[in-house]
């Protein structure tokens, strides 16, 4: 049996005080699909790295990991390379060669196969993954999703028995991530490869997995089928679920919450938790059939009332555009096509504005235009009354405009987090005492005081994001631009981040964010806008915006839009179900 057995495994990093892995015991049988989830820093990556000989980190280890009844550390090099495949997070950093075909062949070259054999295997893989179309391209010309797919394919070309993936979709946009996970599923079902994957994107994975392992502080707190894990995480007390509960798919949260609050009758005739929107709808159908007959008109009335009061509130607040884009046209070169096509957009003061849209529709270009990095061929941009142009850059970036780039690494120069923040102030003409004071405050605000001495590169993705944000915020901007700030963050960091955004809003900072993250924007934004084909096609409060969409919306909304189109977040939806059931 070529499965994996973990026997009493504990692990400690040389610098760590606590055990990063604490007495783990489990087995993965062949062809199983196992999802490992947990907060960042819970030991997921450390665990996954124990399965591959050359990736095992240095430190104290007790217990062992057996592959095919052989300790992984004693595995023959050749078998270690072929039998256990490992895909990491960052698509770019894993690519080694310059051409797609060469990358596919890399592992097979290492094994010393002859040209004819490699050719055959590469051809197989290219067909299975449908990459014939870009087979001869340079890897530099691929999209992020394609790069990650290539990484996967080049590992699959070695025909591994076990495929280990460490947050493989954290750097991808939702559509590419979805496609990637579907291929993983296909590999598992059609080739029988064992899959062990750690992820934050549980919505899709829960429907694919045979088993979910939840980790917390180096320990396994749940190890069961996806539906059971949902029940376990929801816990006994309705107000105090396990923190991991917030990372579950919306439908599971709604179901678990309502079962807890309303009792077992909410289970309807179901033995298990619903996992997909389809199952969720079927469940709701059954449940709502039992609801007191108040008729649909009632909720509609009520929800309309809701939106009316909201409208009133909004009209009372005076509109004061702080970013205004007027009739922008832009293309990157004479021959290319337009990226921005007559874009008009106003963002009001103190608003948290989210610009949503697919890949390559011009969202990032819009950000670049606002910061003056590119100059549109036509149209004008005003930020707080100042026109964006070269002569105004000094005034614009002085306590006014700042942007957080997508990769926080692009900002890091220093050796520790606190020095990093101090670096941000080096041009300011204030006393050192005041500088230190401001850095202290920022460390606190970003909740990274305990990490002050850490090297920026040793921080996790979420912590790096916050450090970079802190660096930008020390410049005290009144307009903050963000490029996909939630990319690769786990659900808890997202909650922390939203808390920071609320604080900033209170200080009167306008936040303009470009994102793919529908769920995040729905929950926290003041206004959402859909970007398509170089222009904004719809704008509104999250309620108006998502109620008007039918595909591009949150999963909670997709679940209940037949009955309650204004329900967007899972809390709203479960509250609504409660109300209707009581009536």
């Amino acid at each position: 049996m070529a499965g994996i057995q973990v026997r009493g495994l504990s692990f400690k990093y040389p610098t760590g005080e606590k055990w990063a892995l604490d007495n783990l015991d489990f087995e993965v049988s062949p062809s199983e699909f196992v999802v490992i989830c947990g907060k960042s820093g819970c030991g997921k990556s450390t665990l996954l790295r124990q399965f591959k000989k050359n990736l095992t980190p240095y430190g104290d280890r007790i217990g062992e990991v057996l592959y095919d009844n052989i300790p992984v550390g004693e595995l023959d090099d050749r078998r270690n390379a072929t039998d256990i495949g490992f895909v990491q997070q960052n698509p770019d950093n894993q690519l080694v060669t310059d051409k797609v075909w060469h990358e596919l062949a890399f592992g097979l070259e290492s094994l010393g196969l002859d040209n004819q054999t490699i050719k055959r295997r590469v051809a197989e893989m290219a067909s299975f993954f449908d990459i014939q179309g870009w087979f001869r391209k340079n890897v530099a010309d691929l999209s992020g999703g394609q790069k990650q797919l290539l990484n996967l394919a080049s590992i699959m070309a070695m025909q591994p028995e076990i495929l280990i993936l460490d947050e493989p979709t954290s750097q991808l946009d939702p559509i590419a991530a979805d496609e990637f996970l579907k291929i993983i599923y296909k590999i598992n079902r059609e080739l029988g490869t064992t899959v062990i994957i750690s992820e934050h994107r549980l919505e899709e994975l829960f429907t694919m997995a045979d088993r979910v392992i939840v980790m917390e502080g180096g320990k396994i707190i749940a190890d069961a089928s996806p539906t059971k894990v949902g029940e376990i995480l929801a816990g006994e007390d309705i107000n105090k679920p396990n923190p991991m509960f917030y990372g579950l798919p919306a439908i599971m949260k709604i179901y678990a919450h309502n079962v807890k609050s309303m009792g077992a009758k909410m289970r309807a005739k179901r033995a298990e938790m619903p996992l997909t929107i389809r199952e969720g709808r079927l469940w709701l159908e059954e449940v709502l059939a039992e609801a007191p007959k108040v008729g649909r008109a009632d909720f509609e009335m009520e929800s309309r009332k809701d939106s009316k009061t909201e409208n009133k509130l909004k009209s009372e607040k005076k509109d004061e555009p702080i970013i205004s884009l007027k009739d922008l046209w832009f293309r990157y070169s004479r021959e290319s096509s337009d990226v921005l096509r007559g874009l008009n957009l106003d963002v009001n003061k103190g608003e948290f504005f989210c610009l949503l849209g697919g890949n390559g529709v011009g969202k990032s270009t819009t950000l670049k235009a606002i910061t003056g990095i590119i100059k549109p061929q036509m149209g004008s941009i005003f930020v707080d009354g100042l026109k964006v142009k070269k002569e105004n850059f000094k005034a614009l970036f002085k306590n006014k405009l700042s942007m957080l780039p997508q990769n926080p690494q692009a900002l890091f120069t220093e050796l520790s987090a606190e020095e990093e923040l101090l670096e941000s102030l080096y041009r300011e003409k204030i006393s050192d005492v005041e500088k230190v004071d401001r850095v202290e405050k920022m460390l606190e605000m970003m909740e990274i005081s305990h990490l002050r001495k850490s090297h920026p590169y040793d921080l996790s993705g979420g912590e790096q994001q916050r450090l970079a944000l802190g660096k930008i915020l020390l410049l005290e901007p009144t307009v903050l631009l963000l490029d996909e700030p939630t990319k690769g963050l786990d659900p808890f960091f997202k909650i922390t981040l939203s808390g920071i955004f609320q604080k900033l809003k209170k200080q009167g900072v306008t936040i303009f964010m470009v994102s793919h993250d529908v769920e995040f924007c729905a929950e926290y934004a003041d206004k959402c806008a859909m970007f398509f084909d170089g222009d904004v096609v719809s704008v509104g409060s999250p309620k108006e915006f998502f109620a008007g969409n039918s595909f591009y919306t949150t999963s909670a909304n997709r679940l209940v839009r037949r009955w309650y189109p204004e329900g967007i977040t899972w809390e709203e939806v479960s509250l609504w179900i409660e109300k209707t059931m009581i009536k």
């Binding site: 900002l411 890091f412 660096k471």
Partner: protein
């Protein structure tokens, strides 16, 4: 077609790398060791023709820009510093300036310019892939190293762009005093270095995970030695060897000092020059034939 040149899409460039590299080795090799005016004229003629065929208008500009200054400088310098030669043109500060030295300078300059132009053709035809393949024949590790270099250059460029953008977003535009500008530049480069080193750890993990370092690495390639390639290779070798044989008997050299002595044109000389020309014209003939075929294809379509 002539305006832009055929570039990498030409028929010869699509041949197997061995065919390309043997051709350039022969052509450039023979050119470098031949000071005979006949040989120089032939090589210059074909170098120009082929470079224009490959790169079009750009080649003409580039060739003139490189050739003229070299010829002027070298002939003047040679004439001024080398006093050998029987035919004195005039005296300069008691130095004999001779016709032979002047002609030798021109010939040497023409030879160098021809080699440069041949290398510019080599550059167009030998894409990175082909170089990697050829080095892979020598040792697979060298091929991999090259391939990684070609991978990392665009990656670093992309990263640097992102870093500069990130700095601009913090309001740190390049500008101000020299001190500020230097400091900013150094900062940007230092970010690039630490980011890349950090990323390289992951790259090396990914390499090791895929068995890098196992004994007996091979080098994969997509090239096929077709029937046409084999014929071309044989033709190249036949014409090349005959020419080299001719050169071995000293046909490709003449005496410039003290008096220029041109060898008499005999049968052997004629054959050598002819094979030399045929050798050089191989890719040109091939490319023009290929281009004609495309034109016919276009007319039919």
């Amino acid at each position: 077609m002539i305006k832009e040149g055929l570039g990498e899409k030409s028929t010869f460039a699509n041949c197997h790398p061995i065919v390309n590299v043997v051709y350039f080795a022969l052509v450039i090799g023979i050119t470098m060791f031949s000071m005979n005016p006949w040989f120089i004229t032939i090589t210059i003629f074909f170098a120009w023709t082929y470079s224009i065929l490959l790169s079009g208008k750009k080649a003409i500009k580039y060739n003139i820009l490189f050739t003229i200054p070299i010829i002027i400088i070298m002939s003047v310098i040679n004439a001024l510093f080398i006093n050998n030669g029987a035919t004195v043109l005039f005296f300069l500060n008691d130095n004999r300036v001779t016709l032979e030295a002047f002609v030798y300078g021109i010939a040497a300059a023409a030879l160098i310019s021809a080699v440069i132009i041949w290398f510019s053709c080599f550059n167009v035809v030998m894409s990175a892939d082909k170089l990697i393949y050829l080095f892979g024949r020598i040792t697979p590790v060298l091929a991999l190293t090259l391939s990684m270099i070609f991978r990392f250059i665009p990656l670093l460029k992309e990263r640097f762009k992102e870093i500069v953008m990130g700095q601009k977003c913090m309001g740190r535009h390049r500008g101000g005093s020299i001190f500020f500008r230097m400091r900013q530049r150094i900062k940007e480069v230092s970010i690039l270095v630490s980011w890349s080193l950090e990323a390289a750890i992951e790259t090396s993990d990914s390499m090791e995970a895929r068995g890098y370092g196992l004994h007996g690495r091979t080098s994969f390639h997509l090239f096929k030695l077709s029937y046409r390639d084999k014929i071309l290779l044989v033709l190249e070798l036949i014409f090349g060897l005959i020419t080299i044989l001719g050169c071995m008997t000293g046909l490709n050299n003449i005496y410039y000092y003290p008096k220029i002595v041109l060898k008499n044109m005999d049968l052997w000389m004629g054959i050598t020059l002819l094979t030399y020309m045929v050798l050089m014209s191989l890719p040109i003939v091939l490319d023009i034939r290929g281009e004609k075929k495309w034109q016919e294809y276009r007319l039919e379509a």
